[in-house]
């Protein structure tokens, strides 16, 4: 049974002082309902998540106590993606016809604070200064660049592209072009990654309404976008993940590789059929590795692609057309849904200044994060 997305809503990402994470979620939920010309009371269920802004289901007191099934989802960086997958499965099972996937968040400034004890790592790990996510990103791309002959030029080109795309997205946090030299000379955070290679924790909300594709016309006049595949996978033994005090000598495929393969299999198409993609860009290196892990190019080919502009809005495979995590920041609960939101916008042809040319038909989203999980969606119109 096909699942359709018939309503899209977003609260601008970034910093919104005086507005709680939940209020930003409510804003997004109302926008999604308005987009579909539907009422909250039409919904049979909701899956929602937030990492740092309280329980998602608290929003029913703002939206209305209609008795709907509301399940809170908590799954690290894949919280938004997992809410969407849960909604997808709820409809596919035949149990429900229509519902919402929603995520919102509001994080404190600076790097995510880590609790080494809660993560099963021992207090000593934090004491000595190794419980820091930027170190992991630095070490992972350091090795990758060594293995595949990628230079800092590639890191800079990703950042320049994503900030430039952000200026074309009214909902993005960063609205300024950052010139190449400014990226290349910004402060070294965790070698080889610099300040402007990283995204930051932020705030925002995103919601979407999903329904059985064969009943879409009953609910709305909006042209639906179809969710052809959803896959969430976690790390295998031997995968290089954050906060690993040791690593196996033999490496396994990343969770992204598993999730991507499963999603393409479900959808019955291949990477060459994708017209526009959203790939997790926690930092520049992540986007580079994810281009290959998701099957769009070979390992080591990325620098050439970036120099040729193949992942720019007018390139062969536009990546992170809304500015990605770099220009939007990363509110964990909402981030994975933002990616899907952007692809749906592109497939509807509503991308405005950042619209991918030639009416894209198939899109792809990929989220990756702690503690080593990946979520992939494939969409079509």
């Amino acid at each position: 049974m096909d699942v359709a997305i018939i309503g899209l809503g977003i609260h601008p990402f970034g910093r919104t002082p005086g507005k709680s994470g939940r209020e930003q979620g409510v804003h997004a939920a109302r926008a999604a309902l308005k987009d579909a010309s539907m009422a909250w009371s039409d919904l049979e269920f909701a899956y929602g998540g937030s990492a740092a802004a309280g329980a998602a289901d608290a929003m029913v007191k703002d939206m209305g106590l209609t008795g709907l099934q509301f399940v809170n989802v908590s799954n690290g960086c894949a919280t938004g993606g997992s809410a969407l997958q849960s909604a997808y499965m709820a409809i596919q099972s035949g149990m429900f016809d229509v519902g919402m996937a929603i995520g919102f968040d509001k994080h404190e400034r600076g790097a995510f604070r880590v609790d080494p004890k809660g993560g099963g790592l021992g207090k000593w790990y934090g004491d000595v200064g190794m419980a820091l996510t930027p170190q992991f990103f630095g070490m992972k791309i350091q090795r990758y660049m060594h293995d595949y002959g990628i230079s800092e030029d590639a890191l800079n080109l990703v950042a320049v592209k994503n900030y430039a795309n952000g200026t074309k997205n009214p909902n993005a946090w960063r609205q300024q072009v950052i010139p190449y030299d400014e990226v290349a000379n910004s402060m070294m955070v965790c070698h080889p990654l610099r300040k402007f290679h990283f995204c930051s924790p932020a705030e925002g909300g995103c919601a979407m309404i999903l329904c059985r594709a064969d009943k879409a016309k009953q609910f709305t006049d909006k042209k639906p976008v179809f969710l052809k595949a959803v896959s969430v996978k976690t790390r295998l033994f031997g995968s290089f993940e954050v906060f690993s005090q040791s690593q196996a000598l033999d490496r396994a495929d990343a969770p992204t590789v598993q999730a991507s393969k499963a999603a393409f299999e479900q959808a019955g198409i291949g990477p060459e059929d994708i017209d526009v993609a959203q790939l997790q860009d926690t930092e520049s290196g992540a986007e580079i590795m994810h281009m290959a892990e998701n099957g769009f190019c070979q390992h080591g080919e990325q620098e050439k692609w970036l120099r040729e502009g193949q992942t720019s809005i007018d390139g062969k495979l536009p990546v992170n057309t809304d500015g990605g995590c770099m220009a939007n920041g990363e509110p964990i609960g909402a981030s994975g849904l933002r990616q899907v939101h952007e692809i749906a916008i592109q497939l509807r042809g509503e991308g405005g200044a950042r619209q991918v040319p030639n009416s894209p038909k198939a899109g792809y989203t990929h989220v990756y994060g702690a503690p080593g999980l990946s979520g992939v969606c494939i969409l079509s119109n």
């Binding site: 880590v114 080494p116 000595v128 070490m139 402060m187 005090q245 040791s246 196996a248």
Partner: protein
């Protein structure tokens, strides 16, 4: 460095390891402690109660190699959030420090702080050696932690 002897009982009274069971201590020749699965051979650091590769609980504590090569690295460029950080410096006198994974031949890659005079010399593949030394002072005791140091700086 002193000749290796049996477990020393002099000169270590005022020291405590940063965590019990992380490395042999007190010792003139300390080693990191890991677990080796008796069913599939996989080694982990630190010690854990089961094997992450095959789920077996038939694991034994072993002493890890003290020399290896740098598999990847980075430089922590900013003063980490305190807590959880508990380093000896203040934000004012903080100096960027190295962190990496050291591949111990035939065993496992371990994550470690890197002690070096010059972080700009860090390279993948360089040979590294284990070192246990004072990290901070706490309650009047020297808190000992492990580091790896480029072999050519020893």
């Amino acid at each position: 460095m002193a000749e290796q002897t049996s477990t020393p009982n002099y000169g270590y009274e005022n020291t405590v390891p940063i965590a019990e069971g992380l490395f042999t201590w007190p010792s003139n020749d300390p080693r990191l402690l890991g677990s080796q699965c008796q069913d599939c051979g996989v080694v982990t650091f630190p010690v854990q109660s089961g094997c992450p590769a095959c789920s077996s609980t038939n694991v034994e504590t072993i002493e890890l190699e003290r020399e290896g090569t740098l598999w990847t690295w980075t430089i922590q460029g900013f003063y980490p959030q305190r807590p959880p950080y508990d380093g000896p410096e203040t934000p004012e006198n903080f100096k960027p420090f190295g962190v990496g994974y050291i591949e111990l031949p035939g065993q496992v890659r371990v994550q470690s702080r890197i002690k070096t005079e010059d972080v700009s010399k860090l390279r993948i593949g360089m040979s590294m050696k284990l070192l246990v030394e004072q990290y901070i002072e706490r309650d009047g005791k020297q808190v000992m932690s492990y580091f790896f140091q480029p072999s050519d700086e020893l």
